[in-house]
Structure formats: C-alpha cells, structure tokens
C-alpha cells in the first residue's frame, strides 16, 4: 500500500489530480470511501479484503465530480467497472487516473484503459465455485419452488434502492422505476413491485454487471439479489459468448449484430 500512498501524494502535490478516491478505516471496524484532497492525508488510505464497496460508483456522482479530476484506488472490481463505464461512454481516459491495486495492496501502473483491459483478460469474470453451486441449485428447482424461493427472498425488500445506489453501473439520473409515463413497474415495495424491480434491474445489468457484489453488500436486509445478476451473467456467457468487460464489445442488450442467430431481430 506504501506505493499507492506515495503515488497518491505525488499526484495531489503536483496537482495532477484534485482528489484521490480510496478506502480508509471507517467506524465499527469497517472500511469506507475516502476523498483525499491533501497530500498530507494519504496515510489514512488502506486496502484489505474488507474493501468491498465499489468506489467506481463515485465517478458518476456530481458532488464528487465537482471536486475536480480524481485518481481512484482500483482493485479488480473497480477496474472492471471503469472499463465498463468507459465502454458506455460514461468516463474518458483523460478524466481520471487509475491507481490499480493488487489483492495484496501493491500498486499496479496502467498507462491507459487498454492496459487495464489487457490486465483484466487474466481474470475471468466467473461466478465462483460455491456460488455456482447455489445458482445451479436455484436453477434446478421446479417452477413452483423457484417462484417460492424468489418471493421469499425478495419479500424482505423495502425498496431503499441501496442496491442501485451502490452499483457503479446504475448511473441513470432517472431510473426506469422512476419513469411514470407510462409507469413501467409499481413503485411500492409490495410483492409485485419488488419482483418487478429486481427482475428489471437484473435485466438492465445483463452483460454490464461487473460481478462485484456491491449491491448485495449494500442491502440492509442482506437479500441475495446478486444471485439474479449472476444468473444473468451465466446466461450471457453461455448463450451469448460474453467473456467479460472490454472497451469494444458494447452492451449485450443494446448491441445489434447482423449474424444474430435469432431471426426476430433481423
């Protein structure tokens, strides 16, 4: 982490960036986001396995943008989010400096987004084995069992939208749930409203989700709503040959290909 701190201090001192977005120790022994604007404060930066919040979420936040050009401490999840955001034209290479960090907190230098993209090739974005087992269990349930499982899981949701707020890919100023002409899905946190909300959100993240689990970590009810996005990820990989975030591909749901195997789209 020393190299990261050193680089962060240099960037702030030279005014190459105005703010360093990183992790620091928060309250109750949990890490939290820090927005460091003075080189003297870089010592508070930390990195460990508990740093699960996806900091890329702050790249779209107006109040943080106003601080000026950022550098961002970026473990794997943040790197993926940055590349996905770049592919969706939400951020540009010259707008930020990426301080990559390895799982053990070592600085990884990236010259440009392409270098990040290349680095990410070595890390398959796959659902881990244990999760895969759970997902397979869900998938192998009968229709009735699955309906019951999801109803029970999502019944707890009270629509605080922490999942959306914690997701770096949920950057829309006005979410589909807030569109009311027409009202696509019920706003209320009742059974139908909850089901439609989570299914809609998972659909919108198909082929875009960076599998960071920030949504699940943020959920005050601990709902496994990331199972939905993971199932979508599985489908994207198996049905559409999706391999992970890249700068080029475009989004699964918004990319048209003339050689699409489905004929309804042609």
């Amino acid at each position: 982490m020393d190299n990261v701190k050193k680089r962060a201090a240099e960037l702030l001192k030279s005014e190459a960036v105005k703010v360093v977005i990183g992790y620091t120790m928060g309250t109750n022994g949990k890490p939290r986001a820090a927005f460091i604007q003075n080189a003297e404060d870089v010592d508070s930066l930390i990195f460990n396995a508990q740093c699960v919040q996806n900091l890329a979420v702050y790249l779209s936040k107006a109040e943080i943008k106003q601080l000026g050009k950022p550098a961002i401490v970026a473990p794997l999840n943040v790197l993926r989010a940055i590349i996905q955001l770049a592919s969706e034209m939400q951020i540009q290479e010259n707008e930020l400096i990426v301080l990559g960090v390895s799982p053990d907190g070592e600085l990884i230098d990236f010259q440009n987004f392409s270098a990040i993209e290349k680095y990410l090739e070595d890390f398959n974005m796959e659902v881990d084995a244990k999760e895969k087992e759970t997902l397979e269990k869900i998938s192998s349930m009968s229709l009735e069992e699955r309906w019951k499982f999801w109803n029970e899981e999502l019944a707890e949701c009270f629509k605080c939208y922490a999942c959306r707020a914690a997701c770096p890919m949920c950057y829309c100023h006005k979410c589909a749930v807030e569109q009311n002409k027409p009202q696509w899905i019920p706003v209320a946190a009742h059974r139908l409203g909850n089901l439609e909300w989570h299914i809609m959100r998972a659909m919108h993240l198909a082929g875009r989700c960076v599998n960071c689990d920030a949504c699940h970590e943020a959920c005050p009810k601990g709902i496994n709503l990331n199972f939905l996005t993971k199932l979508m990820l599985n489908d994207a990989q198996e049905e559409f040959g999706y391999t992970g975030v890249t700068l080029k591909e475009g989004n699964l749901l918004s990319t048209f290909k003339t050689n699409d195997q489905e004929n309804f789209i042609q």
Binding site: G26, N28, R32, E153, A162, A188
Partner: protein
Amino acid sequence: MTIEKYLVKKASLSTLFDKIKASGKTIKAPVKKRHTTDFAAVGSLDETTDDYITTAQSAKSAVFPRVEKLFGYVKSKNGVELVDYDLSTIPETVLWGVRPCDAAGFDPLNAIFNWDINDVIFSTRLARTTIVGFACAKADSSCFCTSVGGNPGSTAGSDLLFTKLSNGDYLAEIITEKGKAIQALAPELFEAAPSEEKEQNLATVEQKFTREEIKAKAEQYFESDVWKEQAQRCISCGTCAFVCPTCACFDIQDEGHGKHGQRIRIWDSCGFSLFTQHTSGHNPRETQGRRWRQRVMHKFSYMPDRQSVYGCVGCGRCSRACPADMNLLEHLQQIVKL
C-alpha cells in the same frame, strides 16, 4: 398513571405470550428471518429471539406500513366510486420485544401524523397497538440513546417494560392502561416486585452530547461546509430513512388493475435525489450535502420547533445499515464540536 412494578418469572413469559395470543391480538416480535432479525407476526414465544441489540428495521411499520392502502376505487361507465378505508380491518396488535429507543420513536411519529389535522388511519393503528418493551442489557458502538434523551431502561413509549434480572426472571413495569390490560390477561403471573435494582441489569451507553447542543450547533452552522463534507460518501439510497423509527416521509401513488385500484401511501426518503425535484426539473435540494443537512435539521431543529419533539431516538440503526458508513453518531459528534 404511576408505574407499577412486578416480578414475572422467566417461565411465566411464554404463558403470558400465549394468553395475549389467545385474546385474539396479533403479536409481532423479533424473529431471526433469512438474513436479519426483524419484527414479524408470530404464534409463540419460541419463534422469537432475544439475541439482538436492535432489530434491523424499526417497529414503525406496525403503525406506518411500507405500503398502506388509503382508499380503493371502482371505475364504471358512470364515473368512479371511492371505497373508503375500512378502519375495522386494523387489528389489535401487540409489539413484543421493542427496545426503549424504538418505543420512544412512536411519539415523534405521532407528532408528524397528527400535528395539525388528524391522520385517522395512522391514529387508529397507533391506538390499537400495545408496546411491550424489553430493556437493553447490551449496546454497541452505534447506540447513543442517552445523548438524545433516552436510556437503555427508559419506560417512555412502552406500555409495559420488561427488564431481565440476573437470575433470568423479569422486572415488569406497567406504564399505561394498555399495559394494565396485558397484565389483566394473566394477573397471576405478576408477582410482588423484585428487590434487585433495575439499573444493574442495563447496558451502559455513554452520553456524548445533548439534543439541545446539536440543535444549537446545527442551526448556527447551517451554511457550513460540514454537511457537504460529511455527505461525500453518501450514495443517496433510502436505507437510513427506511430503518429509522421516526422517519415518516412518504409518497402517494395510484395502483390500478383494470377497473379496480387503490391509492396507496409508501415510504419515501428526503435523501433521494428526486424527492423534491419539480416537474420542471428545478430541484430545491439538488446536492446530497443539502439533503443530508435536511435530514439532520429536520430531526434536531425543525421537529422540536414545529412539533415540540426531537426526531432522533439514538437507536443507531441508520449507522449500522448504511452501505457507505455514514455514521450518524460520528457526524453529530463532529457537529457538536464545531
């Protein structure tokens, strides 16, 4: 009424619970369910847990459900017919296992719903709710009830308060007529008051400041950058408001299915960016710093000024639940030091 004290034996608790159940009341109590501990309708004491500092969500949904039908409607060729809320459908409910901080939250809620015109739906729910509190033997670093007028053994807001004694029996304090009505269901279980001091069985929660100090400082530093700085981490979700025992902001929506439908009231939050946004796009509280300031000012300045009650009970739920570690106690301590 003056508080009456009794002893209720450990073994008597489930008998009392069963008697309440047999009286036809709905009982909602803390249940370990899926991923969190929260209030849920239960049939017996065995289904409940007493292993919690606070439940993840407050008990407010008993009087302010996350979705409440306000009235129904039926459309026809000749127009529309409104079907009024049938207040008789609101059940007599006993909230069992409410922490003193949570019990104190009903007063501010009531102030919001009844400070001028009476919200009869809310009021009927409240009138049909009996609160059986359980004093806190444990606290954590998010708790700050003593800084906002409460304490781990406070009777305020409860109708009946149990404090667990060193031998596992309970001190029962009957605070209101509703509490007496619970006692009347099984008077034989309420024995002569124990001699053991209540205080020695309570958690210690160090007082960090007073509400009045926060009020004065928050008003004085209204234009300070402190709000903006504290809100940098905030990701604008509604978690803090939705787990809060006193947050009552709501939205009104219509939901129809064919010719039938209903107008509903649903939870909302001043922290959401679109909460105050006009149709024109103009937003009076456009930044998260302003929205965060509103949350604190509403609870510590506007409510005491307009409704003569503070809007924070120090339960610490918002701090525990926040996905971005917006710790209310930490932030209030910063404000008081300004």
